[in-house]
Amino acid sequence: MSPNEGLTIAVPRGALMGETLDLLEGLGLDVSEVRSNQRKLLFAELGIVTMRPSDVPTYVEHGAADIGITGKDVLLEGGEREVYELLDLGFGRCRMIVAERDGEDTIAESLRRLGTFTVATKYPRIALDHFTATGRPVGIVEVKGSVELAPLTGLADGIVDLTASGRTLVENRLVEREEIVVCTARLIANPVAHKLKAAAIDSLLARIGELISR
C-alpha cells in the first residue's frame, strides 16, 4: 500500500502547513513539491489537497477528502460538522484568549455600568459560547483582519483571539484577561470514509500515533 494508504488528505496552508508536511514526510510521502510549489493546490499522485485551514472541515465533511488536518479553533468555530475528530496531533499549539487594553479593566467597567460589553473577534461563535456559558451578556463585533486594532480605536472593549507567543498582544499594549481554550492540530475524518475505509484509516492512524509519541 502507498504511504497515504490510498486516502485523500486535506492539508492546511498557513501556520499548520510546515508541521503537517513534516508529519506526512515521516509517513514516507515525498512532499518536497508541496513545499516548493505554493501555487499548486492538488497533488493527486500523493493524495494531497491543500487549502486554507477553515476549508478543511468542509472538504472532509463532503467527502472530497477522506481525512484532513486542521486546528481545534477551526472545528470549534465551524460548529456542528459531520466529521470524526480522531486524534490530537499536539502541534500548532496556541490559546484562545480574552484580552483588552493594558491598564483599566474596560470589560469589567462596561459590564458593571452598562450591563454589557463588546468584543471584536474573528471567532464569533467561540466568543459568544464562552461569554454565554459564563453568564455575561456580550456584543460581538466580527472583524476579518487584525483584531488588535479594535480596542485601541474604541471599536470594542476587548478582543477574543488566538495567541501563540503573545508578542502581538504586547506590541499593541494589550493584556490577556482570560484563557478560553487551548487549541492544537487535529486529525479529522469523513464519517463514511471512517466506516468504509476503516482499515486504511486505522493503519494510518497507528503510524501517525507512533510518530507523534516519539
Binding site: H62, G79, E82, E85, D88, H194
Partner: protein, 316 residues
Amino acid sequence: MLPDEMRELRAISDRLRAAFEGAGYGEVWTPTVEYEEVLERGDQRAAGAGLRLFDGSGRVLVLRFDMTIPIARLVGARYRDAAVPIRLSYFAHSYRAVSRGQVQAREFLQAGIELIGAPGPEGEAEVVALVIEALSQAGLEEHRVGIGDGDLYRSLLADCGVLEKDRMPLLETLARRDLVGLGAQLSDLGIDGADLELLTSLPTMRGPAEILDRVDPRAGRAVENLRALNALLNKRGVGDRVLFDLGLVRELGYYSGAVFEVYDPAVGYAIGGGGRYDKLLGRFGRDLPACGIALDLQRIHAAGAAEERLDRESSK
C-alpha cells in the same frame, strides 16, 4: 424540482416501491402535520427539533420529522387486532429545522419500511436484506449497511461506574464524533486502565464481522446479537454488503438494540438509517417489537449519479 430531476427521482422511487411491495410491505400515508404531544409521546427529545404551527384553538401542531412515530400511532389506532408481523412502507416528506451553514433542505423525501411484530435478530435481517436488495434494484452498486447496537455504549458506561448524570454529556460527545473530546472527558471523570481502553476503543471498532471477535467480553450480549444477525444475513446472501460498527449512534431517542446506517462510497454522507424500536409501539397502545429503515431519496439519487460519474472517470 424540474422535469429532469423529477423523472429520475420517480424512477428510483418506483423501483424501491416495487421491491417493497414485492416483499409484502404495503404502502401507507399519514398526515404531514401531527399534534406535538403525539410526536413527543414517541420521542421526547426529537419532537423539539421540528417546525411548529398552531391551530385555531391554540393546540401545537408540528411538521413530522420522521415517519416512524406517525406509523406507530397508525398501528396503535388501526391495526389493533391485526395478525403480526405487520409490514408497511412509505414514500413521504418529513421536515427538520436547519442550522446555519449546513447544506440541508428543511423538507426531505423519505422512502422506508417498518416491520412490526418481528423480534430480533430475524426482524433486523429481513429489513436490512430488503433494503440492500431494493437499493440494487434502484440502480446503486456499491451501497453498504452499517450495523451497531444503540444501547451498548450507554450500558458499558454504567458497567464502568460512570454516574447517570455524567453519561449524557459523554453520549453527546460520541454522537458529535469527537473521539478526542470523548477520551478527555472520560479521563476527567477518573476513568482509567482497562475501562478507559474499552470506552475509547469501542467507538472505533468497525468493519467486517471478524471485528466482533476482538470486542471486550463486557460487550458480550450485544456482540452475541450481532453475531446471530450476521449469520442470518449470510444466509440471505448479503453478508458482504454489511459492516459492523460498535461506535454507531443514532440521534433519535426511541431506538433500542440494533441501529443501522446506509452508505454509498461515492458520497460522503449516510443515505439512510434506522434501527430497532421495541418500546415505541407500546406508547401508542400496541406493545410490539419493531424495526425499520428510512432512506433519503434525494441522497440516493445523488449517490447514483456520483457512482455513474466515478464509473465514467475510471473507464477513461
